[in-house]
Amino acid sequence: MASSPQRRIDVAGLVIALILLVLAGIVWWDMTKLQILSPYDLGPKVMPVIVSGGLTLLAIGNAIGALRGTLPDRDSLDWKPIILILGGLACLIALIAFGGGFMIGTALLFAATSTAFGRRAFVTDFIIGAVIAVFIYLLFAKLLTLSLPAGPLENLF
């Protein structure tokens, strides 16, 4: 790759380096709380020390790369679809955590994702998602007797 003199410092690259450093710190801090129990065991601390040390070195390596501007170019980013998909996942998680059952959550996730990919038919997609969820529910719960997180809808079956 030809190096161009106008390369700017890559801020995102520096943030990555910083995150790695923070991770290294967390691993180290967590390691200090461990004890060596068996007199013959190398102990649970050795691996965290290696990982923490490696991450620190890699943070430096990434920082150098960022300062030199060697990170690859990136396209502009459209945040809206990402928020839609993550929102769909968050709804599913919340519904399962608070006993709303997975069916509504799955239908929501399906509709949200397909909206994120440019479809404009939320209700139709919601219904499609719900049909898939019912199908999966019947397959798992009835055929394999697995218990899936149930809410009001699931209890109808």
């Binding site: 004890q35 129990l37 068996s38 007199p39 013959y40 007797t145 697995l146 218990s147």
Partner: protein, 323 residues
């Protein structure tokens, strides 16, 4: 469709009632059994076997099994105590392993918060050595341990589990320092077994079932089982009878949520009593090779107390729990 189904249900129930074997109130029970582990494991198999026995013997109308896996049962018991308080139809399968796991995981929830119902099965621990090992008896293993605990390497299950506790108890009973045992935890039964067969370790310790076929094939030598002295047989000798005082079993039991009424508790204990006697349950025990060790109600509650105290002590002595 639903109408038809309901009708079918009713006639089936009626038929069952007419059959007459069904015992009054218990037959109306709609039980939920939680296995605090993923499908397939020992606790899950126990839950599903109970489901089979309870419904086939007509003790319960329906039994639903749910799985709440994670952290040696810590997540399941948390859910039982927090979300099922006062639910007289809920049961949870548990076992000796959970006693240790709750201690080592520093779980904020303890078994004291549950309502003990019954102990169902037990499996004794077996100590084996490779067939070509110079060690022939449990006594010789104890002597080797006393001479230098570092040189006696043990292969067994995860740290703090029943195998580890049994090894520490053995060392203690042998007069060696239990904190100095060279116990090497392996992840699966198969991996530990391979290490023993390959002669990588001095001895292996695990449930008898793990070793049974190797012992019969003459690839492993059984030094003994952790059975009480009077229960030893010629091909399954008791270690206690060989002068090393150790008595431990990996049992499985059921408990109910906290806050259930005395009547609800009695109904559950009665249902378990009835199940334990049923031909269906006995057939399952035989088929799975599980040893019946049925104890219910207050007697089981007392055992649970004792096991907790003893386990805490031994885990503290190997450093896994701060006393």
């Amino acid at each position: 469709m639903t109408q038809f189904r309901k009708g079918l249900w009713r006639s089936a129930l009626a038929a069952a009632a007419v059959a007459g074997f069904v015992t009054s109130a218990a037959a109306q029970m709609e039980l939920k059994i939680m296995a605090p582990a993923a499908p397939g494991g020992g606790w899950d198999q126990t839950a599903r076997s109970m489901q089979q026995a309870l419904t086939q013997a007509g003790i319960a109308k329906s039994v639903q099994v749910t799985n709440v896996p994670g952290a040696g049962g810590s997540i399941g018991i948390a859910q039982l105590v927090n979300n099922s308080k006062g639910d007289g139809n809920q049961l949870m399968v548990m076992g000796y392993v959970m006693v240790g796991a709750l201690l080592t995981n520093k779980s904020p929830i303890t078994l004291d918060q549950t309502t003990p119902i019954a102990r169902l099965t037990a499996e004794y621990e077996a100590i084996v050595v490779p067939a070509d090992s110079p060690i022939k008896t449990a006594k010789e293993l104890a002597d080797a341990l006393k001479a230098d605990p570092a040189k006696v390497t043990w292969a067994g299950g995860s740290a703090g589990g029943v195998d580890h506790i049994a090894a520490a108890l053995f060392a203690k009973a042998a007069g060696a320092d239990p904190t100095k045992i060279n116990y090497i935890p392996f992840s699966g039964g198969g991996e530990a077994l391979a290490a023993i067969l390959g002669g990588k370790v001095t001895a292996g310790i695990s449930g008898y079932g793990e070793f049974e076929s190797q012992i019969k094939a003459g690839k492993l030598r059984l030094l003994g089982l952790t059975t009480p002295a009077n229960q030893g047989t010629a091909d399954k000798p008791s270690i206690q009878a060989q002068g090393i005082d150790i008595d431990i079993a990996n049992w499985r039991a059921v408990v109910a949520p906290p806050g259930i009424s005395a009547d609800q508790k009695k109904a559950l204990v009665d249902a378990m009593d009835e199940m334990a006697k049923s031909a269906e349950w006995q057939a399952i025990l035989k088929q799975k090779g599980w040893e019946d060790s049925y104890v219910s109600g207050d007697a089981f509650a007392k055992i649970l107390q004792q096991e907790q105290a003893r386990t805490k002590e031994i885990l503290a002595s190997v450093g896994l729990v701060k006393s």
